[in-house]
Symmetry: none
Subunit: 213 residues, 4 copies
């Protein structure tokens, strides 16, 4: 067998000597009383876009689902095993969170694969191809727009996909109901890895702007 990765053991030792020392009481309390996060973040697996880093989060503050390209499917209660839908259900019904944020990011490998199905290192018949097919016709429609650079198309699809996921989120009856009654708010955000900037979606127009400016 392989031994546990040394960099993870060292990282955990840093955690024990640093954050845990400072936040011991909080961890004890979170273990004893259970979690009560106010916010669910639906983010990408990308190693460069961890929500807890980007939002300088405290333990216990955000319930975080991460899948490839931060996609949300439509509500499909067909008896299948839907991991993303299960997490949404748990967050909304069991944890009664007040906010759901769908957070995309620049240079997303999943979005890039969706835009370049033929030149991807991944076969479109594989899981990634099927997973990204959740975007339906969106990548193809955008891809025909040859006036935009590859990078511009990528950013555009990253944002289109966030809006699409938010639309899909609202097909969950309890999400729609709670949002209508003002108990739940749904948000979009996009993280720029290079500049560190957070672009926040305007809920009315769907546009992304930097709130700090």
């Amino acid at each position: 067998m392989h031994s546990f990765p040394e960099h993870l053991l060292k990282g955990h030792a840093n955690f024990m000597d640093g954050r845990y020392v400072r936040e011991k009481d909080r961890y004890r309390e979170l273990a004893a009383s259970g979690q009560t996060p106010s916010t669910m973040i639906i983010a990408c697996c990308d190693s460069r876009a961890a929500p807890e880093m980007i939002f300088d989060a405290e333990p216990g503050s955000m319930f975080v689902l991460r899948n490839v390209a931060n996609l949300v499917p439509t509500y499909q209660p067909d008896g299948g095993q839907h991991g993303t839908s299960a997490a949404i259900e748990f967050a909304v019904k069991a944890l009664e969170i007040a906010n759901i944020v769908v957070m995309g990011h620049g240079r997303c490998g999943g979005i890039k694969a969706a835009l370049n199905p033929d030149h991807s290192p991944l076969d479109a018949g594989d899981f990634i191809g099927k997973w990204m097919s959740m975007l339906g016709e969106l990548p193809g429609q955008l891809g025909t727009n040859s006036m935009m650079t590859a990078s511009e198309q990528q950013t555009a699809l990253e944002r289109i996909s966030i809006r699409n996921s938010i639309g899909n989120l609202r097909t969950f009856p309890y999400v729609a109901d709670l949002e209508a009654s003002g108990k739940l708010a749904v948000h979009g955000a996009w993280f720029d890895i290079s500049t560190g900037e957070l672009w926040v979606m305007n809920g009315d127009s769907g546009d992304f702007v930097r709130p700090e400016l």
Copy 2:
């Protein structure tokens, strides 16, 4: 529309003034050259068990999938949209990561729901019920063992589930092949929210021990 959560905006401002200032060069490089994480972590959505916190991780170092109860399904190339499988495929085939760590944690709400299907706030017919059904007969078998306390049963199932997920991981042909050739290693870990301790799985016996002791 609702405005973007204030605590997230404030947290991001902290990030920009803190971590981003210190690691600006790293973020620039990660954006320009792409991600090359050596490790994939499959973890739970739980707000108290963020891998980046527990491993004091640097940006770019870990590709992180998070679903409810850190479950991995078996390899099912049936044309459906499998988010967890897509992330595994992306990590192994596109990113060529060297390690996969399935990390569970104590007091997991998903595991608790699996152990208490009738007393859960969640209907077994909902997404959570279906999702946790990935554990098959395991919760039921354990539940008949009335000699263990509820807490002991929970910890036991959390670890059983990690071993089960690792077994399922090995049904992916490329995972099995790469592991056999020594290019990929698969690990298990369990995080204790209360004490901050990391328990690491012994690959031969399946036991969980604290490596720092």
Copy 3:
């Protein structure tokens, strides 16, 4: 007759008491020796995007053409009166400038009119309609992309149009020749009125980035 606008007379008095006092020698020298600007800027008439403000320019440093939406036509030596082409010719052949910058900006009224020919306050049969028709099929192709918000489409077309103008610039034989011999460089830029930021075009990819970040 109407008297000369008071705000202009007052502004000129400020100029005489301020900038002219400080730069009297420069103005005298510029008058005596003629202009030798190193750069031509092709910009929009928009009152919010004056190149001299944005680049904090000194008198004599930039030769500035401004038309609606900073458009450049293709080389059409048909004997007609082409104001933009005449300015380019004057800058390149008489002034021997070293750089041409096509600078667009956000919220451009001309681009907006091109995207909304039916809802514009201006009749498509008027001069504006004809002028913006220089973009040919570009607005129509982009406008069919209903996945992007109106604001996203506008920004996209502003940048597409800059790349289109740069392509048209290169149909001028002397521009192409001098660029090939390294004596002339052609650049693109986009100004964000709200944030004051300058986005500079990457000559290879056509993408726009903020160089100051």
Copy 4:
């Protein structure tokens, strides 16, 4: 590819640290509400005669067209692409500006070329020659007046040309109509690069005088 001119990047940095800091609120407001300039300036591309400098203008206050020698053609709705006419139409019909100022200046290269068609570095068959041919017989008529020095002829033609452009402006039906109804005023001005003085045209006589004296 060539990198973006360093002097422009530096100038923009000065803008961000200076004017933008002082006028941030104004830029934000101008971006949000759109431009509402009261005045259109038709000026020359010359690097020494930027209207915003000469009138110490604030962002948003003047809509500025700049072409070689600040010429205005007659109204020619022939379906061609007329950049100057498009800008006039946009200013008058879309922005509903209250003043149009045709501003010439001393030592104008375009006017000089028109006076010296044979000794110009520019072939009369090129764009500049065609563009300046908008002045028709005016340069030729003046050139036969051998009693005036070359410098006197130049200044004379600069002013003749301004009056000519104003006459052409009035061939636009909406300009004539709005001027008749008192909603639009048309002005002439001439800038002396050497002394910084502004000479303003008397609308009745056509003479240019210095209003500050």
